[in-house]
Amino acid sequence: MLVEIRFHGRGGQGAVTAANILASAAVLEGKYAQAFPYFGAERRGAPVVAFARVSDEPIETHSQIENPDIVVVLDPKLFELANVTAGLKEGGVIVANHAERPPVEGNYKIYCVDATKIALDMGLVVSGWPVVNTVMLGALAKATRIVKTESVVQAIKERFPGRLGEKNAEAALVAAERVHEC
């Protein structure tokens, strides 16, 4: 089955990297995957999107994703700044970096995790910014089961070798524990 995912972030938050790591995690499980950025210019801080497809079959579709099954929102502010539910399928899933239920109208299944707090608590900070992309991948895996949490952990460690990868992987596991329907 083909699952289409859209990541919402702000330029510099690592939405594209999150999509890439998700694809790698799926491939580690022998699945097929694609990950791609929004094909345009991006600016630090501005709302950005990235995409992924995960499937049990080879993926030959190359057109843009307009009706995702899942959206992942890396920044709580994006619920005000961007239309994160645009095109999201009826009954689709939202995985949000949000302490409590975000202000969203519509028939969606919403999962919350305070990824910013996890990142700050665990010292995942770069240039003063909490790094939440790997944290959110742990939450995404646990909430939707499109890939196993262990695969996400392995893909994170492959992407960031050494202590950095370990820290990010630990944070992903904490998020997997804390993510909840909201």
Binding site: V27, A35, F36, F39, G40, I59
Partner: protein
């Protein structure tokens, strides 16, 4: 063998490294840049024993690679769009001099206005230059085709440079699983470089001097003959590659759901994947449609196409490029190939300048064509499929329907 998730551009870089390329030269241009960035990193880390020549323009990049290749080195460059246009003079020069080399072209629209998104205009602009020109559909095929390109280009029956086309962003910046073959296996399959002559301080050789017109004419004739010979080489190389590496693609063309098909889509590039989804959907509805993906636009696979399409009732061609004042370049070649069959044909111009074309749009166009053709023979050389928001608001460019 190891499976990694790679962008199409990195797939090119891994293939170039596996081919033990000795000289790389390029000038950065989106969406090509990450190919040579990766190669530069590989060279810097000592993973690849090659020389990176930094230049001030694409014209010089291809000139540098052409020079290195003339002197006997396996050489590679990559570019896109305006960079390729800037190279154009040397593109012809390298082909005419019969120097084997490989270039990746990350297909991108041509301005103005400034546009970094995909179409096929840049690569089709090189159509008549004497290069072997191929298009990949997936990142895995990008790697395999790049490796095959060295083998094809350096085959003594060919001795022509080769372009490997991959769509900008759609493949170049999209990560997907890619099986990277072992170096030893590649070494055993790819022979040492061969070329018709090597320019060195010890050999007397002149290339590019004034020659009698009649001799120049015969050089053009010999290029045309080499293009014909390349057809067999391409099919052979792909088949042998499959035996060694476990993947082959059908050589010059790929036939998709051709069994039992009465109507066919003809298309090239990665958007063929979306068109295949439309074919799947139509097949489920009982519509007898298949798809031929043209993998090599030069040499033109005339014989293979005639063989694959000999029983067709009609063919619809999707072009992501246009010859202004005429038709889509793919359609032009399909039409001249299928002329003896006297079947219904339509050329559709779509997806120019990065406009996204979804499986549903393909399906509508294909189903519409089949409906028309079932009512009587049609011949529509070019129909512009406007972007959705403009559809129905502009008059169609004179549309010629010739019923027989």
């Amino acid at each position: 063998m190891v499976v990694k998730t790679l962008t199409g551009n990195y797939a090119v870089a891994y293939a170039v490294k596996l081919a033990r390329v000795q000289v790389v030269s390029a000038y950065p241009i989106t969406p090509q840049t990450t190919i040579v960035e990766k190669l530069s990193e590989m060279i810097e880390k000592g993973e690849m024993n090659a020389r990176m020549i930094r230049v001030e323009s694409e014209h010089s990049a291809l000139a540098a690679v052409f020079g290195a290749a003339s002197a006997g080195a396996r050489a590679f460059t990559a570019t896109a769009s305006h960079g390729l246009l800037y190279m154009h003079e040397v593109v012809w020069w390298a082909a005419g001099a019969r120097v084997p080399l490989v270039m990746a072209v990350v297909a991108r629209a041509i301005g103005p206005p400034w546009n970094i998104h995909v179409d096929h205009q840049d690569i089709f602009d090189q159509r008549d230059s004497g290069w072997i020109i191929a298009f990949a559909q997936e990142n895995q095929e990008v790697l395999d085709l790049t490796l095959q390109a060295f083998r094809i280009s350096e085959d003594p029956r060919v001795y022509l440079p080769m372009m490997v086309g991959l769509e900008g962003f759609i493949l170049s910046h999209t990560m997907a699983p890619v099986d990277i073959p072992d170096q030893e296996l590649v070494d055993s399959w790819l022979p040492p470089r061969r070329q018709p002559y090597v320019i060195s301080p010890d050999t007397m050789y002149s290339m590019g001097n004034i020659a009698p017109d009649e001799d120049h004419y015969m050089m053009r004739y010999s290029m045309a003959a080499a293009m014909e010979a390349a057809k067999q080489v391409i099919d052979e190389v792909d088949k042998e590659y499959g035996e060694v590496f476990g993947r082959s693609y059908g050589g010059l063309i790929e036939c998709y759901k051709c069994d039992g098909a009465e109507y066919y889509v003809v298309i090239t590039g990665s958007w063929a994947g979306d068109a295949k989804k439309a074919v799947d959907s139509l097949r489920e509805k009982g519509v007898p449609v298949g798809l031929v993906r043209v993998r090599f636009i030069r040499p033109w696979p005339r014989e293979r196409l005639l063989e694959a399409l000999s029983g067709a009732k009609g063919v619809i061609v999707f072009d992501r490029a246009v010859s202004m004042g005429s038709v889509g370049p793919l359609f032009a070649d399909v039409a001249q190939t299928l002329y003896p069959l006297g079947i219904s044909m339509k050329g559709v111009i779509a997806g120019l300048t990065g406009v996204d074309v979804k499986p549903g749009v393909f399906e509508e166009a294909i189903a519409g064509f089949i409906k028309e053709a079932e009512e009587g023979p049609v011949f529509v050389p070019s129909e512009w499929l406007l972007p959705r928001k403009y559809r129905g608001k502009y008059p169609s460019i004179p549309r010629e329907v010739i019923a027989r």
